[in-house]
């Protein structure tokens, strides 16, 4: 199912390589000596690094639906992170390789390549761009510990300055301007959209009910005030509550998975008390307004294979599967077989279980098994063999806390399940 590269990945790879391919006839191939070779590497690293920096900006865009060719927003932002990382490393390699290439001409020449007279402005603009990159990437890469989210977000705005400085560095020095205009405008447009216009894409919903599911877990029921959100099961939204009585997180957006079926009139979101904002939402005032932006994500994938499915849920990670099960019920039929193994600490923490079991009773092909950690320890091969003997043949979706995901991936790999058949989406730091 995942053996073919995604269309988004192919487009991104082509865009990364475009400026280098355009520049190749000018660059030629390096001569035999080390100096010429290093100079070539330095130029190529600069071209690739700048392309990655501009595309990192372009991939920071958040438009509902645009994330799916990349396998969901979580994955798109991992690509964004990887591009930023690549740009940072390559641009340092670019400066160093060009300087070292000039060493045969004497160390003073090499130093002057890096630090020329001020009259050669573009080179110094390159240094400023690198400095701006360093300032906004140091917290991202945790150079000095993990930053506070809001500080990190503010510092990340320096990326726009780095982008402009890097373009001002490259345009006077580069041979071909049009690829840089193209990628530069894409990057700047993405930043402008995020900071200036994205709030217009939010939909207004009213909190109809706050239903307690267990201690520290509620389900919000949201009724549309205007246009309804169109989504698929297992997708997530950014939710910004506007309730004035909230103790924290008012107007702040946080990602939550939808637990409702696409056909449902109201949106349903299961929320566990995991931080200040989700704690405050436990006692949000019914009748207050929220803004909903989305849908994002590609949890169940667009091209389901014909294999039977195994759903593995842990804790609040049950929510996309609740959405999936409610969707199966709304459709009234299951293609193949779906087995949901619900991993909880103890029976009181298995929220939604009654509803899921009721759905299983009504739908042939859908079944639910619960597994309690305090009774049996972590899920093991014997439990899998007893309840899902054909695990190696199934398409597997898993959602749960990171430690559980890691344990399950190891367990499944041990059962001969190829990685390409295990699907999960981790919503951290979005």
């Amino acid at each position: 199912m995942r053996h073919h590269p995604r269309t988004g990945d192919l487009a991104l790879a082509a865009a990364v390589l475009l400026p280098l391919v355009v520049a190749l006839p000018r660059l030629g191939w390096p001569a035999d000596d080390a100096g010429a070779w290093l100079a070539w590497v330095g130029r190529a690293a600069g071209i690739l690094g700048l392309a990655m920096l501009l595309l990192a900006a372009a991939t920071s865009i958040r438009v509902p639906g645009w994330d799916r060719p990349f396998g969901g927003l979580a994955r798109l932002w991992r690509l964004h992170h990887a591009l930023g990382f690549g740009a940072f490393v390559l641009l340092m390699a670019h400066a160093l390789a060009l300087a070292l290439a000039a060493v045969p001409l004497g160390v003073p020449v090499a130093v002057e390549v890096l630090f020329p007279p001020l009259s050669r402005g573009p080179v110094w603009l390159g240094w400023l761009a690198w400095l701006a990159m360093l300032l906004f990437l140091a917290p991202t890469f945790g150079f000095f510990g993990r930053p506070r989210y809001q500080t990190w977000k503010r510092l990340h705005l320096l990326s726009a300055a780095a982008l402009l400085l890097a373009l001002a560095h490259a345009l006077p020095l580069a041979g071909e301007a049009w690829p840089w205009w193209l990628l530069g405008l894409a990057g700047l447009a993405a930043i402008a959209w995020r900071k200036l216009f994205s709030s217009r894409a939010r939909l207004a919903y009213r909190i109809e009910a706050v239903e307690p599911l267990a201690r520290g877990v509620v389900e919000l029921v949201l009724a549309p005030e205007g246009r309804r959100l169109v989504h698929e099961p297992g997708q997530f939204v950014y939710l910004a509550p506007l309730d004035e009585a909230l103790s924290a997180g008012r107007g702040e957006e946080h990602p939550y998975t939808l637990a409702s079926a696409p056909a449902d009139e109201c949106l349903r979101i299961g929320i566990k008390d995991l931080g200040d904002a989700s704690h405050a939402l436990q006692s949000v005032t019914p009748g207050s307004m929220v803004q909903v932006e989305g849908p994002y994500g590609d949890f169940f994938g667009r091209h389901l294979s014909r294999r039977h499915r195994l759903w593995l849920a842990g804790g609040i990670g049950i929510t996309p599967f609740v959405g999936g099960a409610r969707d199966l019920l709304a459709r009234g039929a299951v293609e193949g077989q779906v087995l949901l193994i619900y991993l909880a600490n103890r029976p009181e923490r298995a929220y939604y279980l009654e509803e899921l079991e009721a759905i299983a009773e009504r739908l042939a092909g859908f079944s639910v098994v619960s597994h309690y950690y305090l009774e049996r320890g972590a899920l093991d091969a014997a439990f899998l063999a007893a309840h899902c003997p054909d695990v190696a043949e199934r398409e597997i979706h898993l959602c749960g806390p990171p430690a559980m995901n890691a344990h399950l991936r190891r367990l499944l790999a041990g059962q001969g399940v190829p990685r390409s058949r295990i699907h999960s989406e981790v919503l951290d730091f979005l």
Binding site: G28, A39, H81, A82, F85, F88, V89, M92, A93, A95, L96, L98, A99, L100, A101, A102, L105, G106, V107, P108, V109, A110, V111, E112, V113, L114, F115, P116, R120, V123, L134, L137, F141, G142, F143, P172, L173, G175
Partner: protein, 117 residues
Amino acid sequence: MNTVAYTAFVAFLSSVLTLVSIHALSSPDATVPGNPEAITREELARHDSAESCWKAIHGTVYDVTGFIPDHPTPAAVMLEWCGRDASQAWENKRPGRPHSSFAEGMLERFRIGLLVD
């Protein structure tokens, strides 16, 4: 990924500082004379061929004879400017675009004197 980024950053900074330190600690370059030789326009004009090609760029004279075969453009382009003031060619590698700082560093290797009237 974070560790690699940090390592690359430290390695880059160390390399640049090493280069700058070596430069600061080494004695002044003996190949560039403190009192450059004065070269007249007549003297410059005599070196106008592939056998001996001198060029004046912004008042400094360079002997680029040995570099002609290594220069990326065809030799004819280089030879056209031998024995003359080539500032204009230097500033227009492509129309409106000067040579790079890298090329500028390379040019220093061929410096032989200052142009006088």
